[in-house]
């Protein structure tokens, strides 16, 4: 009697492992905070970033349903670290902090904070 079925994979091909490096972009480490700027208008946001980086959203933790515009999340310590893949604080805040000429727009109306580093505290392999 011949065997019913093979029990091994017909082929084992890898799409990117082995040949390519792991696609980790950076490792900012534990405990880095993030924040985003809020704007009274889309125009103010676009003046700081670009249109694709701006979105309409509700304030965090609020039931307020009116329109607010937000730039992308960026690291709170962006100014001191200058991480390459970080969108940064926006042109208006950058100009203000650097003593450059003020931009012609209103700049952000506020800043909302988020956080990073709230997972990974065990810091050891999950191997099991």
């Amino acid at each position: 009697m011949t065997r019913k079925l093979r029990k091994r994979s017909a082929s084992v091909r890898l799409a990117f492992m082995g040949a390519a490096a792991v696609g980790i972009v950076s490792t900012p480490g534990c405990g880095e905070d993030v924040q985003r700027n809020s704007y009274a208008s889309l125009a103010d946001c676009v003046a700081d970033y670009s249109e694709v980086q701006c979105r309409e959203d509700r304030p965090l933790g609020s039931t307020y349903t009116g329109s607010h515009y937000y730039g992308p999340w960026y690291r709170s310590n962006y100014a001191s670290r200058g991480v390459a893949d970080d969108p940064g604080e926006g042109r208006a805040l950058h100009a203000s902090r650097s003593g450059l000429a003020a931009t012609s727009t209103h700049g952000p109306s506020g800043v909302e904070s988020g956080t990073r580093g709230g997972f990974g505290g065990h810091g050891v392999s999950a191997r099991g």
Partner: protein, 368 residues
């Protein structure tokens, strides 16, 4: 079931490294060994496959009973964890994979020692490295290992999004390889995956976000549920709109207390061992396991005349069932489930009777 001494491929190191297997040696000691292998008969493989399917069925039934009867607290789950488990089970959130550790010498019934249902590793070597070893050395034989093709098929059932995130402790080579391998199989299923270290996950106040500050909608995490819930972001988990892989209900099966509940639900089952939270319920020699131990950590053998140190965490007792010994090595069978199907095995062996992180991985094959 036999252990065979064979000649390793002369270029084995280069061969496995080409696959991306860079932890074949751990702390200077061999982890991958191919100067030995295990040989099974086809009937023996059928027995392993049937036992794995049966145990998987028992485990799902156990989850159903625990949730239905409100017994999560017996596994140490608090209210938050319980709600997560209940919600994910009641909506039948799909699981990807798991690995049962079985004790078996090739005759009688395989016995479940534990179920690594949440963050199982030793996956890449079982699915990929030993498959290529078979191609090179025993091409006419078969291997109980369709893990790779089952993973690709399962991803298409598990993920509802074409974009996923994969998080692990990427500084750990084994964790990185496991997570990257799963990301690779997901890509072959048409799912684009972004990798990030578990530490890099952010919380925006409403969503978990990645390094580009995009909302994470589906997350494969190679990070135990009990750790996630214990850490600062754990408080955000209940409010996050996020599909987790593995889903929260896997917390019940990766918890050693499930061994005691399985024995309560299915007493005398031939694939189970007597187990209890109370030492006095068992007689003779037994193994004491921490509820959340991994890779043999904290496992001790206790019994008559053997003193038992006081534990500072909840423990489970399981009747001692010796691993089979071949030459001077104790052999453990890691039997993989992908979705709801048995998918293959990986052999581990050690001079010690407790299998640990550095225990060797040894390939296998079977013949008619």
């Amino acid at each position: 079931m036999q252990r065979e001494r064979i000649v390793a491929r002369p270029d084995w190191r280069e061969r496995v490294e080409q696959l991306g297997f860079d932890f074949h040696t751990i702390d200077g000691e061999a982890y991958w060994r191919e100067d030995v292998c295990y040989r099974f008969s086809a009937d023996q493989i059928d027995t392993l496959e049937d036992a794995t399917a049966e145990l998987h069925s028992l485990c799902l039934e156990a989850v159903e009973r625990i949730v239905r009867d409100g017994r999560c607290a017996e596994l140490g789950l608090d209210e938050t964890a319980t709600r997560l488990v209940e919600r994910s089970w009641q909506t039948r959130e799909p699981a990807l994979y798991g690995r049962m550790d079985l004790a078996w010498d090739g005759s009688g019934e395989p016995r479940l020692l534990e179920y690594n249902a949440d963050t199982p590793t030793a996956l890449f070597e079982a699915s990929v490295v030993q498959w290529h070893w078979l191609q090179d050395t025993h091409a006419d034989a078969d291997q109980f290992n369709s893990i790779h093709e089952k993973l690709i098929a399962r991803w298409q059932q598990v993920s509802t999004n074409a974009q996923m995130h994969f998080a692990a402790c990427y500084e750990q080579p084994e964790d990185r390889a496991t997570c990257e391998y799963l990301r690779d199989t997901a890509a072959q299923a048409g799912i684009a995956g972004s990798a990030l270290d578990i530490e890099d996950i952010g919380w925006s106040g409403r969503d978990f976000i990645d390094l580009d500050n995009r909302r994470i909608e589906t997350l494969f995490k190679l990070y135990p549920w009990e750790w996630l819930l214990d850490e600062p972001f754990g408080a955000n988990i209940p409010q996050a709109q996020l599909r987790w892989i593995e889903p929260p209900w896997k917390m019940l099966l990766s918890n050693k207390s499930i061994l005691a509940l399985l024995w309560e639900f299915f007493p005398g089952h031939p694939n189970l061992l007597p187990a209890s939270h109370r030492r006095g319920d068992l007689s003779g020699n037994m193994v004491r396991k921490p509820r959340h131990g991994r890779e043999g950590e904290g496992v001790i053998v206790v019994g008559a005349g053997i003193s038992e140190a006081v534990a500072d965490t909840p423990q489970v007792y399981q009747q001692l069932h010796q691993l089979p010994r071949f030459d001077d090595r104790y052999a453990l069978i890691g039997s993989w489930i992908v979705g709801h199907e048995p998918a293959g095995i990986g052999m581990r062996e050690d001079v010690d009777r407790i299998t640990r992180n550095g225990s060797n991985f040894v390939p296998h094959y079977f013949v008619e």
